[in-house]
Symmetry: C2
Subunit: 429 residues, 2 copies
Amino acid sequence: MLDQVSKTKDATIAEVMADLGRRAKAAARILSTTPSAVKNRALAAMAASIRAHGDTILRANAADVARMRAGRTSKALLDRGTLTAERIEAMARGIEDIAGLDDPVGAVIAAWDRPNGLRIERVRTPLGVIGIIYESRPNVTADAGALCLKSGNAAVLRGGSDTHESAAAIHSCLVDGLKQAGLPEAAIQLVPTRDREAVGLMLSGLNGNVDVIVPRGGRGLVERVQAEARVPVFAHLEGVCHIFIDRRADLEMAASIVVDAKMRRTGICGAAETILVDRHCAGAQLEPLVEALLAAGCEVRGDAAACAVSTAVIPARPDDWGREFLDAIIAVKVVDDLPAAIEHIATHGSNHTDAIITDDAEAAETFLNEVDSAIVMHNASTQFADGGEFGMGAEIGIATGKMHARGPVGVEQLTSFKYKVRGDGQIRS
Amino acid sequence: MLDQVSKTKDATIAEVMADLGRRAKAAARILSTTPSAVKNRALAAMAASIRAHGDTILRANAADVARMRAGRTSKALLDRGTLTAERIEAMARGIEDIAGLDDPVGAVIAAWDRPNGLRIERVRTPLGVIGIIYESRPNVTADAGALCLKSGNAAVLRGGSDTHESAAAIHSCLVDGLKQAGLPEAAIQLVPTRDREAVGLMLSGLNGNVDVIVPRGGRGLVERVQAEARVPVFAHLEGVCHIFIDRRADLEMAASIVVDAKMRRTGICGAAETILVDRHCAGAQLEPLVEALLAAGCEVRGDAAACAVSTAVIPARPDDWGREFLDAIIAVKVVDDLPAAIEHIATHGSNHTDAIITDDAEAAETFLNEVDSAIVMHNASTQFADGGEFGMGAEIGIATGKMHARGPVGVEQLTSFKYKVRGDGQIRS
């Protein structure tokens, strides 16, 4: 199937994708009223099938990895694309965890009675068809497919071309699970071609059959999706997280949080990229903070004040403010006060996650209210910006837009709602 | 200002609109943390200013109406565009009602604690800048401006060119109110040109400065907005509301609801356009339902079964199913059963508001669950599809999309949210 399609001309890809969209929409209608127990049965069967077919998945992955090596893929991409027995078990467990979440569909979000006796309920409903476009991590196939199913949505998955065979092997385990629960195979479809034309067609919405697109990948992918999509997108372009060390910060806490927020994992969107230090405490705190970062193996790029505390600090260039290093590099700057910090974040931030360290409750409230980011934190590491850490279960990503989903996108964020109105004959005349 | 701008070339309109967008964004930042009391003071001052300048508004409106008459505007448009002392008083009272609503901004939607001691709150925030594009009703200027202010958003209003002078007169009363409360004038801006180029610029998002567009008007306007907008849109294209008369419907209730749902006001989006009658009760109910509609002065277009009950019934053409008549005309059809009714609505409906009349609780639940509309009703008139009737206060419109807002769009639906995370030094390592 894969090779057939990828060798044919565009018209055929357009036809394949249009058909895939129609079948996704039809499946979504069935999923919208599928009972929780049936969805959970499918999820359990998916996890079992992944475990049972571990060897098949590893063989498919070995073929992908061999191709990537031959193509001189970078070490980071190779690592992301490589599956192991542990990673396969983690995928199966991840699906079981999703099965264990509360079913958001049908949940009554609000209910009230009107003076005329009408009873109004706002009830969660699925969104419909969710298109997920991802890059090298083949395990996204399992995570995203399971999250969409749990939330009653059909999924159209477009994995990275580097790991297409791995994704296809995982996908057939998901289809196994769907079939065992009597659900339509089209509930989770994998785009059967490596051709990039397919991505453009998904972004166009497949004739109104895709309701939302979730890109999972680097800046290049997300930028393309945001620029071209004709349907809503849940995404963040980058996570330029700031930490402001207020004049009333506890130094020990500040150093511990700053080092964790940057160095625990440097490549995630919740990693800190810029430290802003209040001028009023810079004399006491700037040097120990910079030294703590240097001691942890972090490159520090500083303004004049930060450069003055250590010869190891590299002068920051203008474009280091607001840069997502995604590496053991951080920018450090002294600002006049809290309003200057908020202004710096408004100018250079990415509306993802920003934190203040302070013992001053009032300063904290001002920061939490005025910084316009999906997640604002007081005295905690920005690396907590994660659906699992929020207790929301698995997430399909973090969104920085203000429409519909914001912050971690879990099963609840993959739903819409409807109003159910119950009367006993009310007319308006 | 108006004439100056409308006579200059496109480049200048682009500059005027770009500047307007920048000022709106700056005002939105201030409004996002403006206390409720200040917003309510502005709203009260706006209402007072509208009352104080009633004569000025009426004079401006007389000039608009004279131009419309000279241009042979239709009677319906003329009626919508004409202001009276009563309509002006209603505008002022409407603003006061909005002042009386709870402030959605800052409301804690959800809050929970994590095992590591982190306290997480999901808190309502404004969306930012809302662009409202409307047609002939100048009172939308006041409603929309007040709703946006209450919800902490900046408004960019683009009224109909027919009633621009009336809108400008109302708008200066709103600016009066903003100034009296010390709020930026750019919190509510009226596009100062009749040039249609301005609409295109708003739909492009004014360089990222417009967060959402709300069109208020007929199908032509909404279609253009949905096709061209590069930012999210809260709207419905049409309200093709269905009423299904189930086999276990109470005939008296069915007749009363059907006549109300069609005839109370025929030109609103919640007016019923199609009646579906279960074949199992058609023998007993079809004739009295059709007779009740005919007696109420409604034209009935029916399938063969409906045509058989009265010579006054006109045979329906295929495009009468799913047509929004917006007039005293209704389509009537017999369907096999509940699933057939749901299928008909899925094919011909507009996802706005649909109702079932039945004494069978199970059939009602099936209908409410399976019909994919913003509002689904049991034993009530579709004309209740209205923010005021829902107890949500004023609404800026009704949305049929599934993203963000669905159903009546009131002050809560004009908000987003952020996560506030409070810790005492938590790190993730």
